[in-house]
């Protein structure tokens, strides 16, 4: 009876110990997965923000403030990656989440800025095109009119001229 009880106790101890080892392993693995997912999400957010900032820059927006925010996000992501490599998964998640927030905020701001600048750029481009075209037409008509006036005066001047014959030429 005592022998079977001790066996049962040993078995219970072994199963409890192996369960705790298994549980801690799977807990660490889930933390690692969570940290990896957070980093991936932060990275996606930061690069989509970068693409929107790039488009805003290409339409002529001043993106220096947004660039500063992107660099902040980049630094946080660097730290998150380093923390992940050093197995500080909680810290990696915290830093990646901060990076994600900055990425999303920057993306929204860049989108707004791009829309504003794009609207005013389209207006200014239309104005430039219209003024330029109007100037070309005005110069064309002006030249044509000027040429006709010049031609008329030229003929009048020629017709008013009296032919003279110089003696020495004969």
């Amino acid at each position: 009876m005592a022998k079977s009880t001790s066996k049962l106790l040993v078995l219970l101890f072994i199963s409890t110990f192996s369960a705790s080892v298994f549980m801690s392993g799977s807990f660490a693995s889930s933390l690692e997965d969570e940290a990896a997912a957070s980093i991936e999400r932060a990275e996606d957010s930061m690069f989509s923000a970068y693409q929107v900032v790039l488009k805003a820059e290409q339409v002529g927006a001043n993106v220096s403030a947004l660039l500063g925010r992107l660099n902040e996000a980049g630094e946080l992501l660097d730290e998150a990656q380093v923390a992940f490599r050093l197995r500080s998964y909680d810290e990696a998640v915290r830093l990646a989440d901060l990076c994600f927030e900055i990425g999303e905020e920057t993306k929204d701001r860049a989108d707004e800025l791009r829309a504003d600048v794009y609207g005013s750029k389209v207006m200014s481009d239309w104005l430039t095109m219209t003024c330029s075209l109007a100037s070309v037409i005005a110069i064309g008509f002006g030249s044509f009119w000027g040429w006709r006036v010049f031609k008329r005066r030229y003929y009048q001047r020629v017709l008013r001229m009296k032919p003279e014959v110089a003696k020495d030429e004969f």
Binding site: Y50, V82, S135
Partner: protein, 199 residues
Amino acid sequence: MNFEEYRTVFVTGSLVLMLIAAAPALSLIIALPDGSERFSELWLLGPNHMAEDYPFNVGVNETYSVFVGVGNHMGDLMCYLVYVKFRNQTEPLPNATASEPSPVRPLYEFRAFVADGDTWEKPLAFSVLEASHNGDSMFVDRLSINDVVFVVNASTRWDSEYKGFYYQLFFELWLYNMASQSFQYHDRFVGIWLNMTSS
């Protein structure tokens, strides 16, 4: 001047004026290539922000600093990644002919968004925290970069030609590729040789 010459002058003058007036509209339609070369710079400066006094003879628990910088001349806003790597003399450097990075795993990394014509620079402080010396072998266990501790487990042998235990701290430049949506090695690296003097 006869009448024909007057007409030529008039027509030429009008066309020149029309071309000048059309130039702003044409500049919106026709994009002329600027012809400048596209490239990126990667540099390393010593502790005094000059290309001198680089750390060379390195002792345990001593802190050394350098500055790593990137210059963007790619014509657009770019996203760079700088990997910091540590190797001994036998581990490979990046392959310049094949444009391949070093297979040595990165310890630290910097991401930088740099506008065209702009530069980016960061300080980097490093120290060897643990190293052991056994005959003609040196073993560096732990290294700290910007206060983050890394286990490196890098060993090197005595270099009888240059008389020292040499390691190299080097920096690789990677560039974000929009098409593949990933970083690609940008074929640039800089590094400094470190001679472990004490353990």
